[in-house]
Point group: C3
Chain length 336, copies 3
């Protein structure tokens, strides 16, 4: 694809000679037919040395190679990638090695691979790709152009939106964790709710999202979840929120929109996290958090305060020594 | 179902007019044909305002709607749910799209869905439901009325009890993590034991339970595990213990009966946790814990003490300032 | 198998009478036809009391049973286990209930079980065992004698080495977690790289390894991963490194060779961990770590220092009391 054609589609301005580009790579590994990008000024030296055939930048570099100026080079690069590496063409239709209930509705443009199970009354919409080993339970639905990678499980009655990507091993709609003690044993509280997932949601491999006890566990549109994330029953996650790998959200927590929880965070049950909250990796959130806060630590606190706490924490043995020294001196002073 | 019929079956006393109930819901969402419950006094206002057709309470509310008095409203509600929403009728028999070894024994009342594999000498008992994509290895056994949700894997020789619920993606009997270093590389220690799971055990989605090296990893009866829990080889978990999501138990640890480990806890190998121990979320347990203790923190300590430690921890920068101030004053006093 | 035959194959010296051994077990559970071992001096009493028919030791015990002296009894035991419990014979060939693309190459000695999917251009080498429910994507490859337990997913184009063991539910090659914000929503950065896994790698149940954005996520030879480990995109893991359960490695981190990260560790993105680093359980590593260091804590620090920090941390309430007492005394001194 010509650089000029890329800028025609994606915007930005081309500086230098037009050129055919066939791929994309990192600054270190790009060859003369690849395009690359500079988003983080930290990598400027690499950009100055790159063998790439063209480079996307915010500010022009003093180099004699084709450069594309764009406000957000990383975003531009993301879009260029989608153009340079189009998805495989989809084979439409239902495999003879799949098992689709006669009362399921599968759109003729959908692709149902072998070893897939689609239950009674389930609905698979236009352009969906359902990879081998997936399970779509009775009455469940999957919106148009959603991709289910292999071995994804959507329990009965759960609803997945349009243009979603569910990675391998994702489980949607397993029973919430609810028991009542009868004095001798834990009695299961039947989990009769569902899971509702919005549009343009991506869910990482082996994530688990429990169905609500009575109503619905809801994942907003544009939410992006990394691998091995756990969502308890009745949880609500707002639009465009990001949940990084191995984070866990306990039951009935409400997470706002535009929130970012970095890796291995934990959220207690029944609490509310406001919109646009950002939590550093491993934050343990046990109480409500107002909108817009940046937090860290366990129990969670303001991020800046946490940094100061950690600075002292690391020197605790020295602090103890200073207190001991003070005690000695004060004793001396008192006996003087 | 009539309220009077529910109290006839489940006990409790009906106050107010009898009424037909068709469903159950939360206090906020219940309609006139739903029953709801008040277990936590915190939600009394919601109970006073609910549109439910009936409400289960411990103490009667000053409202003119049918109320059912029960000692444990939540337990009563759990049982009512099971009556109001009976399980789907089971299709008995083996799907023609399943693969069952001729030397496997599958009870005629069991349901083997498509894409299931049952190995040589495996045994699937009365009333079991084995959903699509499950694997039951050679010589493995599954007790009566156990439900295996889609894509559950039970390795060769492992034994699952009766009335268990295994959620999607659960892995039982993967090799324990054991290696011996030969000076150049890690040599695998073959894992020749099994996993034995008791009755009435529920295991959450994508949990992993390793087989023992030589003997058996044992999960007691009535144990309830949330999603993404990890159990190492040779571990023993006592009856009715609760393991909340993303908790990990290292190899050869012994967990007592009636224990509760909240979310994201970690337990070191070869240690013993006594009966009825409760650990707060994210507790890291590295040493033996006597029966009945309530613990928190990492390394774990008495829960009350941990709260006091955390209170000081959060003010460490201020504590440092106070020490500095003391040092200044003591220096002044010394030079006076 | 005769003890003399075992020493002939594995080395070591047999002390006492030769004997037929049919199995292996722990010191407590071994019977007269079992062999057992003493590796940790802590268990010497158990070895003195064991009912085993023979015991592997480093130093002879004052007992009148056959003993095998070996430099590394645990390693010797591991190798004996492999001899005493040979693997099941493999059924070669492709199941008629599997789906193998006509343009896939499957070696005639490989075993493809039912409900397996092998994509276009994929390659399954000599002696591989692919259990039910596995998915091998278009152009993916699996080296000789690799075992894929049930429901393992290898996405398109990813490469798994020889003699690997992939436990049930492992996902290799899911999309890395990369998005660019366009002011309104997260735009997916297409993940066009692959995963390359070396030889003799073992990966625990339900682990997830993301494909690189542009190049490759690389797992070195001899790496051993426990269950539920998460590897982000572009990560490099050096040879013979051990990653214990529930550990997570963020994108673009470089982990050296011979590293050990104990359970529930976390590694931040774009950092480098040197060769032979050992991290205690739950270490949170946010900055580069030089080769050979032993670390712990969050943020990570030298292990010995962390122990001293923790010792003070646990006594913070008392430290606060001492500071208060000093303040009182200093005030008294000042007003004297």
């Amino acid at each position: 694809m010509l650089l000029s054609r890329l800028t025609e589609i994606l915007g930005g301005t081309l500086q230098g000679q037009d050129r055919e580009i066939t791929g994309a790579s990192t600054l270190e590994e790009a060859s003369a037919t690849d395009i690359s990008f500079l988003a983080n000024p930290r990598y400027r030296d690499k950009a100055m040395a790159t063998g790439a055939g063209a480079i996307i930048v915010q500010e022009l570099l003093p180099r004699d190679i084709p450069q594309i100026r764009a406000d957000n080079p990383y975003l531009w690069f993301a879009r260029a990638l989608a153009l340079l590496y189009p998805d495989k063409p989809v084979q439409q239709g239902v495999s003879s090695m799949a098992c689709v209930h006669p009362e399921a509705r599968v759109h003729e443009s959908a692709c149902i691979h072998p070893h897939v199970y689609v239950g009674k009354g389930a609905c698979v919409s236009e352009g969906c790709i359902v990879h081998p080993g997936c399970f779509i339970g009775d009455g469940a639905s999957v919106g148009d152009h959603t991709v289910m990678h292999p071995n994804v499980v959507v329990y009965d009655g759960c609803m997945v939106g349009s243009h979603c990507i569910l990675h391998a091993g994702v489980v949607i709609g397993s029973d919430g964790f609810g028991f009542a003690w009868d004095g001798k044993r834990h009695v299961k509280v039947p989990q009769k709710g569902i899971v509702i997932i919005g549009d343009h949601v991506e869910i990482g491999a082996n994530c688990t999202i429990d169905r609500a006890a009575l109503t619905s566990t809801r994942i907003g549109s544009g939410v992006k979840m990394d691998n091995l994330v756990q969502i308890g029953h009745n949880v609500v996650v707002g639009d465009h929120t990001i949940l990084v790998a191995q984070t866990g959200i306990s039951g009935s927590a409400h997470i706002g929109a535009g929130v970012v929880l970095a890796g291995q965070c934990g959220v207690a049950g029944h609490i509310t996290i406001g919109d646009r909250v950002t939590a550093a990796a491993r934050t343990g959130i046990a109480t409500d958090v107002p909108a817009g806060k940046v937090i860290a630590g366990f129990p969670s606190m303001d991020h800046g305060h946490w940094l100061r706490v950690q600075a002292v924490y690391k020197t605790l043995p020295e602090l103890l020594k200073r207190v001991r020294e003070l005690e000695r001196k004060v004793k001396d002073l008192a006996t003087d």
